[in-house]
Subunit: 273 residues, 3 copies
């Protein structure tokens, strides 16, 4: 089936099934992630205590692990929750925020990749490049420019990491190693508010909680964020700025449905093998 | 005195007295709780370090303990702060978020109820049901449907827990075991943004900081949130969604006064004994 | 050069240079601080794990330490990051939130002042007064009225603490001990939303990341917040409240440029020595 139709069908389903998305995430954008999850139709739960993540993830339809503000305790929780999810075939999604910025972050991501199997990984180009052994130094949590295209990077990383990989940027690339979708939606204002990457991963988490087609879930999630950025920017008045943009972003996510998505998405798929 | 007039009188008083509301809460909705407290006229302080909660709560007019993201450290802080508040007759309000979802959460709530005396407890039906020994399994942090009405549950729980109990839902029930108020305000969008329950508890905390009539404080707090949900939803335009709804919710709380509340509240009181 | 022109020149520069501002801050307003930093043109990174702050701060252009919700772990991270920044001439900015409210907070601030050299310190009058040995008891995290003017307090504190000091309030005073600027912008609604003080410090952090003139950076940062409060309040409609005000505050920060700032700022400078 065409990827566009597979992804489109998920919008009604997520609202019907209301998947429980357990997220062990950072303390900067945790509220945004919970609201984005609710806006698309999921049910978020954000506990990160090692004392209860095993019991909580057993109730969940998907698990999101976000590296934004890792510490010893959250890493312990991620490992417990990740292993439990793997043993129960609950999909696990990684957002390697800031990997490449410090040796600690890079090492811990590498360790976690050995212990937990991820069905989807979403990051910007520098983060994904670093995950597959590139030596770029990320400056803080924002992306650096690379010589390699997002498309080529997504394909390589999907093969090497044996996961669906989303490289988000001006053009978002989603690859399962064999098929690759390029999404040409978005707006530069998405880089001027915090949490848009984290929220995209939360949306991918929600969609992956209702289907085994993780490639379609990743396409639906990342494109929802990029399209919402476009819609939010279009309605911005002269006297408004990034505060209003951020509110309209959640507005657009909460209004997204199959019809709106089909009308707005600009994507094509390439068969890479 | 009529509960409606007792509650109505608190709106001016909270703005005059600006009660200091110490909140040991979760990291998902902590910012929303602080802003809701400020919006109604209170002054929030959110420290949760066991090293300083004893000194901080001594300055406070009310203490709110919220279970959203409990861990060992926050539970230790809750116990210290709760005991200190009890010894000084500072009202303590419990929000048992997610109790019933994991054994850890249920056990820790049960332990805290033995160590700290709560003047008001607010939760959804599943959480309150579980607090009094019901065996429902909560799915994440959202409520399940129960066979018992919110009213009957609030009355039972108030008697068993020896506290004012608020069961929030489509109809909010507030009971002190003898008198029970039913509030028929609200909007379904309140379940589509995170933190509306936590904010309701924060508002109850603010009102309980200015009166000994905790039943009236609970009615004023929960009804303010439900009415604000109605007002926020009424003004929503076609192109707006849950992002704007969330902003308007705080707008409505900040504009709530005695007159507006008297005009909007739909409640009746039943004498249960 | 005139302080007004020195400060004005920073608005274009911060957008060109996009300084990386490492912030070890509180979990209440951390999202607001990140968004304010992005809105003015900086790049925020908020990690506070003692395991990686040394590596992270080496990449940064400025370091902000905020006392809002200190605990043992964040204090350890602040000391490591502060010493590292000092050894590399990266400016360090202190926001002593709530100092004076509990002995723990006051002692820890005093200890940190001995271990780390701060280039800029911003607080309300009670916090700054307490930092220089005043005995006022702060009630929670809000300011008390003092007999001394903000101007006199800023001058004394700047001399005693050997730092640029910002005392924010109805009139903001910024002093380096020799020169003192008084800024008469602002709106009372700034006290009705959480995080406006923290965001002001984040803005000062962003400006201090692109200049050695910390006095000008402090003036640019604090005045941006006060002017934005004015602009946000001016456009508020009758049916709007503090929720919308908070959104417009970020809007105004994101639209602030040299021309707008020159038109709006109401300040004069006094030579104090």
């Amino acid at each position: 089936m065409n990827i566009k139709f597979s992804a489109a069908d998920l919008f009604e389903k997520v609202k019907e099934r209301k998947p429980l998305v357990h997220q062990i995430t950072n303390f900067v954008t945790v509220n945004d992630c919970a609201n984005a999850t609710l806006a698309i139709g999921g049910s978020p739960v954000m506990t990160s205590s090692p004392k209860e993540v095993e019991a909580m993830v057993k109730l969940a339809d998907a698990l999101v692990l976000n590296f934004g503000t890792i510490d010893e305790k959250s890493l312990e929780a991620m490992e417990i929750a990740g292993r439990t999810a793997n043993s129960r075939n609950i999909p696990v999604i990684l957002d390697p925020v800031g990997v490449g910025a410090t040796p600690y972050r890079t090492e811990k991501a590498s360790e976690l990749l050995k212990k937990v199997s991820f069905q989807i990984i979403r990051g910007n180009a520098s983060e994904i490049h670093r995950l597959i052994g590139g030596d770029i130094v990320t400056r803080g949590v924002d992306s650096e420019e690379l010589a390699i295209s997002n498309e080529a990077l997504a394909v390589s990383a999907a093969k090497e990491l044996n996961s669906v990989v989303v490289v988000s940027g001006a053009i978002d690339a989603v690859s399962n190693g064999k098929h690759t979708s390029l999404i040409d939606n978005g707006n530069v204002l998405l880089t001027n508010v915090t949490g848009t990457g984290c929220m995209a991963t939360a949306l991918i988490g929600a969609f992956s909680g209702i289907t085994d087609d993780y490639y379609a879930a990743a396409v639906a999630g990342i494109s929802t964020m990029s399209i919402s950025g476009e819609i939010a920017a279009e309605t911005l008045q002269k006297h408004e700025g990034t505060g209003t943009f951020r509110v309209r972003l959640i507005d657009a996510i909460s209004r997204m449905d199959k019809e709106m998505w089909m009308n707005e998405v600009k994507m094509n798929e390439e068969i890479t093998h």
